[in-house]
Amino acid sequence: MMKALRQEAAKLLQEKRAALIIGFAEREGHPALFISKPEDCERLFYDVSCRQNLAAYLSKPEVSARRPVAIVASLAALRSLVVLTAESQAAPGQVLALAVDKDAFLGTFDVAGAAELLRSKYPDLGPEKALLERVGELSKKSVVERAAFWAEEFAKCTRCYACRAACPGCYCARCIVEKNAPQWVSTAALGHGNYSWNIMRAFHQSGRCTLCGACEAACPQGLPLMVLNAALDREALEEFGARPGYDPEGKPVIGSWSAEDDHSYMR
């Protein structure tokens, strides 16, 4: 698998279909690796312990200045690429994906190809069972217990914004927490600011999150951010049939609407 990945990456550079390859290095922690010479492709590595979603780099100015770019993309990262394209954040033809799934190299895809691959082979990607069970367990608790659970978790947040940096969907040049006229979200790493921040981060990803898990993996304090993401993912699917990351021309769930949307909770 690694051999095919490396060969393909080198070929993209040789054929000038990509000027920059972003992949993973082999050394401990599997940091992101940036390659522009075909011979360096030997250093590429992939296995399931590579936790970063490399699509997050696509909005970095230093990276987009070096397009066309190819990224080593897990299935979730492929979906991110499709979401970014749908949101006009990845110029078509400028980004390629070296698609990987667990221990298989799936080939090189442009965005349309990635979407087609996902639709045909992986049509119902969603949260893992264990994650949904965590959501289920939490939902069964009383509101007071749920509040207590999150009070304890959010209290750990230092507001380092590693979650935001890790997320391909968090590409705003000025995040809501950095807007100060008015200051909607308190920037102090204290109770209510931490609550607002974490709620708004999750909410801004609703219907867009591809469940890659990079935010939770990046959190130095180990906050269970994916519980929020998974709950919203299921709700968006059940209510609006949303499957973000399958259609490069799809409309975002929030930002579109249907007259048929359920509103039984409205009075």
Binding site: V135, L138, S139, V143, V144, R146, A147, A148, F149, W150, A151, F154, A155, I176, W184, V185, L190, G191, H192, N194, Y195, S196, I199, M200, A202, F203, S206, G207, V227, L228, A231, L232, E235, A236, E239, F240, V253, I254, G255, S256, W257, S258, A259, D261, D262, H263, Y265, M266, R267
Partner: protein
């Protein structure tokens, strides 16, 4: 018309503080009608008028809870009646997801209410306020220990 006024308030009676975000064209006009019609309803609501429910950012709701609201009501035009054509449809999607998020983090549907009230529905508005106030009264004060509340 339901009123809670029959209860004699005692010093220990909990009076909920409810923040209402309403649209200018329907619900605010509905509230106005309730007033000009001299309908009696619970005085626990603080109304904040916005152009459209589509303008109501979920942040407003968090801010209200942060600053001590016991409940939040969001109300606007009925589907199809939006002054700006589709603001309330956009809002509806947002609320469907947002209420789920708040429920999961400890703000349940006894503190967060949504409704459609038109300019002609003064009575509905009064009934709604009374009903919401009764529910919040039953739910009690928003817990001081909730992480979303200012310490």
């Amino acid at each position: 018309m339901k009123t809670e006024k029959a209860d004699v308030p005692t010093p220990t009676t909990f009076e909920p503080r409810i923040t209402a975000f309403v649209c200018n064209w329907c619900t605010y006009a509905g509230a106005d009608l309730a007033g000009t019609s001299r309908l009696q309803y619970a005085p626990n609501l603080r109304i904040i008028k916005l152009p459209c429910t589509g303008r109501i950012d979920p942040l407003f709701v968090l801010k209200a809870f942060e600053n001590g609201a016991d409940a939040v009501l969001v109300s606007g035009c009925h589907p199809g009646d939006c002054h700006y054509t589709s603001g309330n449809y956009h809002a509806r999607r947002r609320w469907t997801l947002f209420r789920k998020l708040l429920a999961l983090t400890g703000i349940g549907d006894d503190r967060l209410f949504f409704s459609w009230v038109s300019a002609a529905e003064g009575q509905k508005f009064a009934d709604l306020v009374n009903d919401v106030t009764a529910k919040v009264r039953k739910a009690g004060p928003f817990q001081a220990a909730h992480p979303g509340r200012k310490a």
